[in-house]
Symmetry: C2
Subunit: 138 residues, 2 copies
């Protein structure tokens, strides 16, 4: 899969799954809504009801500032399967201009956020490694 197609598929995906690692080395994975902006991926803690505001994914990134995000397509025709992964440095942003910029982009991508702007915090992923796979030769 050429780099341009990897980028487009990541950018257009409506949901990805984000893996982080806890302080004691255990993996954690959750679906996330996100936006790709140049060399950054942003996602935000939003208003979707959570068990707690102290999310494990945020605690994990504070303890171990790395993450991996995968977007993929599932089909019963396995020649149509594909995924794109980015291994990234991760940082929880302080409130400020970059957070507002990211929330603007998230609201542009997801109309659900226009009705109710996320409170944050926002997390920035800085991709360090892209990889991709496709069930066809593509």
């Amino acid at each position: 899969m050429d780099p341009e197609l990897q980028r487009r598929r990541l950018s257009e995906a409506r949901v990805g799954r984000l893996a982080t690692v806890g302080a004691t080395g255990e993996p954690h994975v959750v679906p996330v809504c996100f936006v790709l902006d140049g060399d950054a991926v942003y996602w935000a803690v939003d208003h979707k009801p959570k068990a707690t505001r102290r999310l494990r994914r945020l605690a994990n990134i504070a303890a171990n500032p790395v993450a991996e995000l995968v977007v993929d397509h599932y089909s019963e025709d396995w020649t149509e399967l594909w995924w794109v992964r980015v291994g990234a440095a991760a940082a929880v942003l302080e409130p400020g201009a970059e957070t507002e910029h990211a929330l603007d982009l998230l609201s542009a991508k997801y109309e659900q956020y226009r009705d109710r702007r996320p409170e944050g915090p926002v997390v920035r992923l800085t991709p360090r490694r892209w990889s991709a796979w496709s069930g066809s030769a593509q």
Copy 2:
């Protein structure tokens, strides 16, 4: 989400995303086809073309025998979102009766495997912690 519904959603999902952790603490996440069998989840290395037989997810489990699997539903109506996660002990099985049993179950769930039985190895996840979330009150 009650435990029975969590179990059913995990069992019926056609694809999940599996997170593991590398020897140096970095997260790794990939889509996987899997089957739930009592208190075990099985997935197999299959014939889908891979860059290498020495998959990172297997090396990770050998170094750090834990994994987390998430299944989820995405919809533009965010009240319909849900996910179910299992944190698990993970083990790469040696060839033998349990591997053949798992491959039988995977072939029963996925007709794609009936045409071409996976060569394996098979990985067994033993759930230690279930969690779930739903965008509705359900």
